[in-house]
Amino acid sequence: MIRHLFKLIWNRKKSNFLLISEIFFSFLVLFGVLSFALYNYHNYRQPLGFTHDNVWQVWINPNTDSTAQNLAVQEQLLQRVRSFPEVAHASLASSNTPFSFNTMNGDLTYEKGKEVETHNFEVQDEFKDVLGLQLSQGRWFGPQDNSSLHPAIVINQKLKGDLFGSEDPLGKKVSANDSTHYTVIGVVNHFRPASEYAAEEGAFFGRINLSKDNKYVWTGLLIKVKPGTGVAFEEKMVKEISAIAKGWSIEVTTLEKMRQSKAKMTLVPLVAMAVVCGFLVFNVALGLFGVLWYNINKRTSEIGLRRAMGATTRQIRTQFVGEVLVMATFGLLLGLLLAVQFPLLQVFQLSPAIYWQGIGTAAVLIFLLVALCALYPSQQASRIQPAVALHEE
């Protein structure tokens, strides 16, 4: 019977072409959207490497260029913040704090190896406690780094893999493009600050030492407040530090709010894509249903003939559903030919597993959709009375 279906479909390839190409395109679109969604979901499931509850982001900006004075104000401001009983930890940081829209990247090289792209985070010693970073190797910054010849850095696992492979990174020297040399003193488990939906990228922390040739005003002040601290304290704190840093702009938000707005950046386009894709698939389903309905109506005399030749109602139904499934398989195979290029050629640097999952899910969905669309018309086809069907010619 399968062979018979193949013959029928092959001989009707012209009229089946539309159906097959519809399935082909739907599959590709579904595959694309699903791969993208799966990619985000997969990232979402990975650890961030830090905890952001009760962490506030204080943006401080002097608005003037008088460096020496600003540096002094910065230190005073920090001391005041730390002295509040509500503040558990506080750390100055470069502006690329977690969930912010800022980035700072550069390249690092280990020995004669290749340059590795990485994100650079400048932080104070308390940063680890503000965000609850976990070290898997070595140590975090401490006073002993004040006198080190090459500045100490702490790297994340991803960068460790990229730079050193399976080698032990501790004590190794790496260089940046500006020929600064750094010594690796520790490795944190994970650090994925860009977004919950972004893949982990190489990252390293440099140490801010205010007592030793600090040249910058660090705009990203992060503080960990004690649980239950609320708006009242925020107002009080802003008032007091504004008194110290006159003329500076000071803005307070929470990492939770920043997380939400960062998440929207991913979720809004994803939902939009899903809606468009859903609409498209719905249209294809309608089209499919229409084409099947039309084809089956055009084939009533064939149905009557087959019944006369001894086909049961069930065999008629099976034949029509079978034909559509065979066509869906054709469409899918064509789509597959294209889709497998993505994992094979590593397009877009998604992991192949995600592409395979996308392919599998899209294929299953297409089959379900097609079977659903085929079921009712085929059911109707099998109900046609043979005498009536043969009469219509």
Binding site: L8, L305, R307, M309, G310, H391
Partner: protein
């Protein structure tokens, strides 16, 4: 072989009620070649459809080989149509997108036989109707007479005990019609196949054993042709 008793068939639409068959009684014996004549619309096709289990009578009794079919399930009816009965229609009813031999294989598709056996039986059937050289053609490439021969081959492929032919020569000129008639006669005489044929052609009807005339859903005559010819 086929027994019809008190068959009535009424078609009801919203506005009209058509009595297509009115108290028809008929017994077709094994090996007979029966022809049915009558004006258009008198219920001949309806009768043939009921004999072929393609349609159910409104009331009355139908039996095949002495067994009533009223209580048969869809599967049992399909099996009877598949194994016992071969159909030939005025408009051939070939599937355009299948080659000649694939069309002929159709009844065997609904039987548990291998592809090889299907092909073999189909080719044998085409041999019997003299179309061995046209097996790969498509119906559109054949003349009307050839198409009807394909349809007969298709009926034969299933090796049925009875062939029901509804105006098999109705669309053909007399030369091609005679060819078809010769094939049917040979089948009846040499292989003992029972045949019931609807026709408008008196000549053809006179070549059969038994002639039934219909008028307005009723039999008006049923005679042995041999007697009639004497």
């Amino acid at each position: 072989m086929i027994q019809l008793q008190d068959i009535e068939k009424v078609y009801r639409t919203k506005t009209i009620e058509t009595v297509a068959l009115n108290r028809v009684n008929l017994l077709v014996e094994r090996g007979e070649f029966v022809s049915i004549m009558g004006p258009s619309g008198c219920g001949k096709s309806t009768l043939l459809n009921i004999m072929g289990l393609l349609d159910e009578p409104t009331s009355g009794y139908v039996a095949i080989d002495g067994k009533p079919v009223k209580t048969h399930s869809d599967r049992q009816l399909a099996k009877l149509r598949n194994e016992k009965i071969g159909f030939v229609f005025q408009s051939y009813h070939l599937i355009h997108d299948l080659s000649v031999v694939d069309n002929v294989e159709l009844p065997l598709l609904y039987r548990p036989v291998s592809a090889g056996e299907r092909r073999k039986s189909a080719l044998e059937a085409l041999e019997k109707v003299g179309l061995s050289t046209r097996t790969k053609h498509f119906p559109s490439q054949l003349s009307g007479g050839q198409r009807q021969r394909v349809a007969i081959a298709r009926a034969l492929a299933g090796n049925p005990e009875i062939i029901l032919a509804d105006e098999p020569t109705g669309n053909l000129d007399s030369v091609m019609g005679n060819e078809i008639m010769d094939i049917l006669l040979r089948l009846n005489q040499e292989e003992g196949t029972t045949i019931v044929m609807v026709t408008h052609d008196e000549h053809m009807a006179l070549k059969t054993n038994r002639l039934i005339r219909f008028f307005d859903g009723q039999q008006v005559a049923d005679s042995m042709v041999i007697e009639a010819q004497i």
